[in-house]
């Protein structure tokens, strides 16, 4: 394809291949997000080849490779992706764990909605949003929109939305599976985007797995989960609630204005939606425990 639109969490992302660039080949996990739209939140023009950063660009933020990426052998630990600034321009450089000859530079902006992406080391066709670019583009769309990207699973049971947040190993997938087995609609089991629409908070999935389809639900409760010997709900409020939530959020804290905006978004949300710590045993009794403690 020479161009297509994606609807992810309500953001319309238009991808356009420039004249010299290879065809665009979105990965299978994006197929359910391809849409028709005259409007877009951001258009990304894809170019072919190496793009040198301007001289004297300042590196603001760096991410080393995660400790474990499934099915990928990492030979270098540093500089997975980085954020640079040059004058008013922002640049994101990245490597690709699944394709170690491929690199990319994204020129993005917090104001202008036309971004440029240079991809080097590709074949005749390429997925312009290969990991980690998909998550990074979505992250910056949440930043621009004042939304929240969080490590969490989410379910909707009989019209009530429950968000279960925790870092790896805390039980996000487990509790989503328990609810799913009892008839709840699973929004996602790993990563969600939270958006405020007309005063109400909704959780949206993002395409992570091959069979992901766009899904969303209102959020009625937020749980910060841990495995436990018994089912136990401990409400948290104020600064504790805010700090516990943001510890599980995706955030690049190099810019004070972005941090302040993000802190504000989480603070307001935690005054609207009840927040609690949830210790749970991995069986269906946790559903009754939550419903009995509404």
């Amino acid at each position: 394809m020479r161009n297509y639109n994606l609807n992810i969490a309500g953001y319309i992302i238009r991808l356009e291949s420039s004249d010299e660039a290879p065809d665009l080949l979105p990965a299978e996990r994006f197929q359910g997000n391809i849409c028709q739209s005259e409007y877009y939140d951001v258009v990304i023009k894809v170019h072919h080849g190496y793009y040198p950063l301007p001289e004297n660009s300042e590196r603001l933020f760096v991410a080393p490779y995660p400790a474990d990426i499934k099915d990928t052998k990492i030979t270098t630990r540093d500089n997975f992706w980085s954020v640079y600034r040059h004058q008013s321009g922002m640049f994101l450089t990245t490597n690709f764990p699944a394709n170690q000859n491929k690199t990319a530079v994204l020129k993005f902006s917090f104001i202008i909605r036309e971004w440029d992406l240079w991809i080097d080391g590709t074949d005749a066709s390429t997925d312009p949003l290969e990991y980690p670019l998909d998550g990074l583009v979505l992250y910056y769309l949440t930043v621009i929109s004042g939304d929240i990207m969080i490590h969490a699973s989410g379910v909707n049971l009989d019209g009530h939305g429950y968000l279960f947040s925790g870092t790896s190993g805390k039980g996000k997938s487990t509790i989503a599976s328990i609810f799913g087995g009892s008839g709840a609609r699973v929004i996602h089991d790993d990563r969600l985007i939270i958006r405020n629409t007309n005063g109400k908070y909704y959780m949206h999935n993002t395409p992570v797995y091959r069979d992901d389809k766009p899904a969303e639900s209102i959020i009625n409760r937020i749980f910060l989960i841990e495995h436990g010997d018994e089912n136990k709900i401990v409400p948290v409020t104020g600064a504790s609630a805010v700090s516990l939530i943001i510890a599980n959020c995706i955030q690049h804290n190099y810019n004070p204005e972005l941090i302040a905006r993000f802190l504000g978004a989480v603070s307001i949300m935690s005054t609207v939606i009840p927040v609690a710590k949830l210790h749970f045993k991995p069986d269906k009794q946790i559903i009754d425990h939550i419903l009995e403690n509404e």
Binding site: A63, T237, P256
Partner: protein, 94 residues
């Protein structure tokens, strides 16, 4: 070395948000590996933090804390110095 005559203010390396009578503090970071540090200040910590305005001395903070919470000077001094020690990374000595 911070003493009772020291004057402290907040570092620009941290962003704060007041929530009720408490604060959330998020440090500015240049590496994703440093993103786990989030601090909360309880009501007492928030009281001390707000008084660190680049004008008051540490001794002023001690006196104010003792008065506000009706405690003796020794306890207030211990609390203030303990707080400063914990938060020194995010404080500037004027």
């Amino acid at each position: 070395m911070i003493g009772l005559d020291s004057v402290l203010s907040h570092s620009s390396l941290v962003v704060t948000r007041k929530t009720g009578n408490e604060y959330v503090l998020v440090p500015i970071a240049d590496n994703i590996a440093d993103m786990n540090s989030v601090y909360t200040l309880n009501e007492t910590g928030a009281f001390i933090w707000e008084l660190m305005d680049g004008k008051r001395t540490v001794n002023d903070l001690v006196q104010a804390l003792a008065l506000e919470y009706k405690t003796n000077i020794e306890t207030a001094q211990s609390d203030v110095l303990s707080f400063i020690n914990k938060m020194k990374e995010y404080l500037i000595i004027e």
